[in-house]
Symmetry: C2
Subunit: 322 residues, 2 copies
DNA sequence: GTGAAAGCGCTAACAA
DNA sequence: TTGTTAGCGCTTTCAC
């Protein structure tokens, strides 16, 4: 049987209140008593139950992380940074793969609530505003990363997606491309829309007209994006560039273009977004708009933990540059 | 204030015992009463506190996952599978990045214990046998994945690493290589040793002698493995193959060989291990010994959950083929 | 079928 | 400085 605070108290010949005080370093306790209690705790291999202390209103020191898919390197790298910063600050993180499925999101959120998770980081795509309202109503701290919610003030860490999109467009033009297409996801978050908007603006600024039909979408997997691009190239002959809205589908675009017979970058230029490990290992290296993933992860945790620990009331929005 | 079971009881005009029974579907309750209670729970937006029920001896439905680094695609893909299976069975998973650092492992294990985590999956490398003994002593269910512990019977899901190593060796020989080197990690787990053993056996079976000095190690990062390979090739001229013990360092080996001026696979063959997303996107595609990652993840959870839920006493060892 | 009451392990007044 | 005690929200006998 796992020892309890009573066991410690008994063996140390003190009351449980005293033990509690030495555990939490609160109140006043004599150096000797403290020493003794610590000794006993160590002797009988005691560790406090977080469940019990959480029941008394203390934190669970756990935060939830909602991502579409942890196997996607962008989110894996983000999760790493979030977990690192969390651990520094004493929090554990629970991963929740939502596949951008609203039902799974709701389910996870429900679980996290039941477990009295202290807060949640949301990096997931689709989501009804309803869900956020509810979190706010229930007073559950949460922070968004990589997605925007303009209607309600919430803690947010964002990339300047518009600028990123613009950079992608400008880069492609610089390399001489005139007939670019965009490969996006079926489900578009605010981030994707912004990237697209920036991209179009870049073309516009260089007096290149963008054909709206050149915005094609895929489900986000490498296979699907490969096929989509391959199919598209079959019917549209003079494409000379692809702007893929993330690295995963950029790799798909590379595959698709290659299987179509194009050489990269001779026949067609491809630019990705995120600059994950995928971009760095691809050969030739994939040009990709870099997101400061590590920084983003650590910033959300800082924001979130501050509100969890009540050190700040107002909501902040942090915007980082690509 | 978050509603409690008392609020439900009061509004429904019943006792908390009755409410508890409808929540848990235990005991006997009249259809009408049940209906009514359910209605009230819904009305006031009640959800039970897992903390409180866990305190009464119920499970927390949380399991910990110890990995060296979730940003490494192999572990990310594994985590995805583990989380998926966990969620199917009603468990949340807490990620713990240990960096193979024994101190961090201990720390995480301590946290998980304090939080009454139901069990833990260990995919981390270095670890003292001590740690396992303690888990067993404290009666905490745990399962190992991708690493072996021969001295104590524990639930384990393993790849047949020896066979994988053998296959790698055989493949390299088949493609005509005669001077292969092995790129391993500084910290060697049982898996790595087995892979190496299998590899050497393959060479032996083909009457090729393996030079022990051709086993070089790196810290596991792409950068480091790139450098290590580059440096090694500078002084050892006639190497025609590299067996990298995982995909991460295989990519590094590819980079290193390329930066040295070698063409792949013309000048040198490189074979990896794991067959993660890295291998599939590398160009030309990296040959890699495939681990059935998804299957492995789901199997550990099955093993672990069975012991958590007391459905099995004996420890099982599942060995999958590469 | 339903309810009263005794805890689970801990924290935090309040007393002593 | 230390101890007594009343909960936190829930489950679970055991009566009714």
């Amino acid at each position: 049987m796992k020892p309890t605070i009573y066991d410690v108290a008994e063996k140390a010949g003190v009351s449980i209140a005293t033990v509690s005080k030495v555990i939490n370093n609160t109140g006043k306790i004599g150096a000797e008593t403290k020493e003794n209690v610590l000794q006993v705790m160590n002797d009988i291999n005691y560790y406090p139950s977080m469940l019990a202390s959480a029941m008394m209103g203390k934190r669970t020191n756990t935060i939830g992380l909602l991502v579409p898919d942890i196997a996607n390197p962008f989110f894996a790298e983000l999760a790493r940074s979030i977990e690192d910063t969390g651990q520094e600050k004493g929090y554990n993180v629970v991963i929740c793969n939502t596949d951008n499925n609203p039902e799974k999101e709701i389910q996870y959120l429900e679980w996290l609530k039941q477990k009295s998770t202290d807060g949640v980081v949301i990096a997931t795509g689709v989501q009804k505003e309803e869900t956020f309202k509810e979190l706010i109503k229930e007073n559950i701290p949460f922070a968004l990363i990589s997605r925007n919610l303009s209607s309600i003030p919430v803690d947010t860490v964002l990339l300047d997606d518009y600028l990123g999109g613009y950079q992608a467009g400008a880069h492609l033009i610089l390399t001489g491309c005139r007939n670019a297409i965009c490969l996006t996801l079926n489900v578009k978050t605010s981030s994707e829309k912004e990237r697209l908007r920036g991209f179009k603006k870049a073309l516009l600024d260089h007096e290149i007209t963008y054909n709206e039909e050149y915005t094609i979408s895929c489900d986000g997997t490498i296979e699907n994006s490969t096929n989509v691009i391959n199919d598209f190239l079959k019917v549209n002959k003079n494409i000379d560039a692809i702007f893929a809205l993330n690295d995963m589908i950029a790799i798909g675009a590379v595959n698709g273009a290659r299987s179509f017979g194009y050489n990269i970058p001779e026949d067609i230029s491809i630019i990705g977004f995120d600059n994950t490990i995928l971009a760095t290992i691809s050969h030739p290296p994939l040009t990709s708009i870099a997101q400061p993933i590590e920084d983003m992860g650590s910033q959300v945790i800082h924001l979130l933990v501050e509100t969890i620990e009540g050190k700040k009331q107002s909501k902040k929005q942090v915007i980082l540059s690509p």
